[in-house]
């Protein structure tokens, strides 16, 4: 394992240098050129406030965005080795067990994510410290420490999703699809079961993307570093987001390593027929999107339905890589659409209090 890790580090030295340079450049430019404070109160703050300098955003967005991007891009680099038949022949013929290979790739990937993030983050912090600012600087190390486990979990989740596919394109589609899966469900549920009290403690659907925890942490620390008060709701939604992120991340790592042995070299470049693939998320998305269509305005609803069915058809064509779909694909499309329409009708009745 040591030799494998050493080789993995050596192999990734150049990409590591490139990612670190790009990350530092972007964060450095943003932090050097952005205004760090207002000299008049920002909108929403009354003129009665006696302080003449008001902190602007503490510029957590740049390093945070780079962290999330790296967590999505690096799994594609690290786990695409088995998605070409020739690559699978090489790596699976070498004297290394598949679990060890994936573990080494995961460790290498984490280095590719965390080292550039760390370098850029602290460079950005240094720039801010050297400039005139009105921030609560102790918030920066805390935010960094909070995002480390969040980033590690996000990387694990995306690594698992990407590696379910048999091709790079399908892997990227899988990552995007499952990123939107939970938010779509909660969007439907929040429409159907909306109540002012409930929205106070559960997250908004958009926060349920896999990087939702990082976004929420960024919001909280942006306010606290800027010496603004953090709402109770912001902190309370962490009670949802932390377990979801932990389940996704830990599940991702466990799934990645426990299913290593079952990965087949002969699946390289083949259709993505896994349960994590098109045959699950296509019907799911069709049903969920259909459930969000408002059928009260029938004209508009018909247009949306037509677009959805065409989109679903295109999705299945992308899955099969052919226009010759199977009977079960069409059936799956139609059943999912029907379920979605039913859910939409049910949802509108629930939200209007008819049940």
């Amino acid at each position: 394992m040591k030799r494998l890790l050493r080789y993995e580090i050596k192999r990734n030295l150049l990409p590591l240098a490139v990612f670190t340079a790009i990350d530092c450049l972007i964060v450095g430019i943003v932090n050097s050129t952005t205004e760090l404070f207002y000299t008049s109160p920002p909108p929403g703050l009354g003129m009665t406030d006696a302080v003449s300098h008001f902190p602007r955003s503490p510029l957590l967005a740049a390093p945070t965005t780079m962290l999330v991007l790296l967590c999505a891009v690096v799994p594609v680099m690290q786990f695409s080795f088995r998605m070409k038949a020739r690559g699978a022949d090489l790596w699976y013929s070498l004297p290394v067990r598949r679990e060890k290979l994936l573990l080494a790739r995961a460790i290498g990937g984490l280095a590719l994510v965390l080292i550039p993030y760390t370098a850029a983050y602290w460079l950005g912090f240094l720039i801010i410290v050297c400039r005139e600012n009105y921030f609560v600087l102790s918030g920066y190390p805390l935010y960094y420490l909070a995002t480390l486990p969040a980033g590690i979990l996000l990387f694990g989740f995306y690594a698992f999703l990407f590696s379910r596919a048999n091709g790079v394109g399908d892997g990227i589609v899988c990552m995007i699809a499952w990123t939107l899966a939970l938010p779509l469900l909660f969007l439907y549920l929040s429409n159907a079961f909306y109540s002012p009290d409930a929205s106070a403690i559960h997250p908004d659907p958009y926060e349920l993307v896999p990087f939702g925890l990082i976004i929420r942490l960024s919001d909280i620390f942006t306010l606290s570093i800027g010496a603004e008060s953090v709402s109770a709701r912001s902190v309370q939604t962490l009670a949802w987001l932390i377990p979801i992120a932990a389940a996704e991340g830990i599940g991702g790592y466990a799934g990645l390593l426990l299913t290593a042995r079952r990965q087949k070299a002969e699946d390289s470049e083949q259709l993505f027929s896994s349960l994590w693939g098109y045959k699950t998320f296509l019907p799911y998305f069709i049903a969920m999107i259909a459930s969000l269509i408002d059928f009260e305005d029938l004209t508009v609803a018909v247009i949306w339905c037509a677009l959805l069915l065409v989109g679903g058809f295109i999705g299945f064509v992308a899955y099969r890589r052919s226009f010759r779909l199977r009977g079960r694909d069409i059936l799956s499309l139609l059943i999912a659409f029907a379920v979605g329409v039913l859910l939409s009708v049910l949802g509108s009745k629930l939200s209007s209090g008819m049940f």
């Binding site: 020739r86 690559g87 022949d89 090489l90 699976y92």
Partner: protein
Amino acid sequence: MIELKNVHKSFGQKRVLGGIGLRIPDGSVFGLVGINGAGKSTLLRLLAGVLRADEGSILFDGEEIFENERKKRTLFLLPDDPFYTTGTTAEKLIELYGTFYDFDKNVFAEYARKFSIRRKDPVRNFSKGMKRQLFIALALACKPKYLLLDEAFDGLDPLARLEFKRGLLSLNEEYGCTAVISSHSLRELEDICSDFALLDGGMIADGGGIQNALDNICKFQIALPHEAKREDFPFECLSFEATGRVAKIVVRGDREETVKKIETLSPLFIEEIPVDFEELFLCEVKARGYLQ
């Protein structure tokens, strides 16, 4: 020893190998032959632990090979189209294989010199033959106990083929390396292989020692006093060709007995022609209906 016991492999609904049983003794150079799509590459990938057999077992010195890290350190697979990334150079490949094998840089240097391999140039700029030479040099430098080669001679010029055969035989003699070679260059296989297996329809159709197999078949050119027809030869022939009064037959069995059978036809002359491995292969595939 490599042992395959009742090995089955299918890809979806397509059965590729259906019940392969094979023993490859230590120190042998074993040729794997068959028509395109016979399952040779699949068998090599199963032996290398790249694929997992659906049924049966593949044993190296009594141990299952699949996911056996320790045993796989003694094994090297050279596929017909080896993988490399865009910027890979020979140096980077040495690093890769040096991580997993006991890589002998002196052996590589020797073959790099013989094949004129440019170590720092990107492999993507090499010709097909040069890539093959590079990977052969890497394979030989790893000094594996078991060397699995898919389309070993593909793309190699005659000189490179000679160097490769010498290198392989040297590895075999000095280190007792067992090589399993799949190739369509049957003349080359005949030079170096001691044993062979002919794959057909996912099964081993023929096999054993090459010399035994060649000793067991004879080819005769016979001139008859009349137009030669197949019916004139009332015994089993692997192959029959006739041009006018001259017939060429390939027969499996005892040479003396075959000559006696031919003499009963009162031929004008009988001439025995040497049979090579390629001819044996062609006769076998003809007998199986692949060649009309």
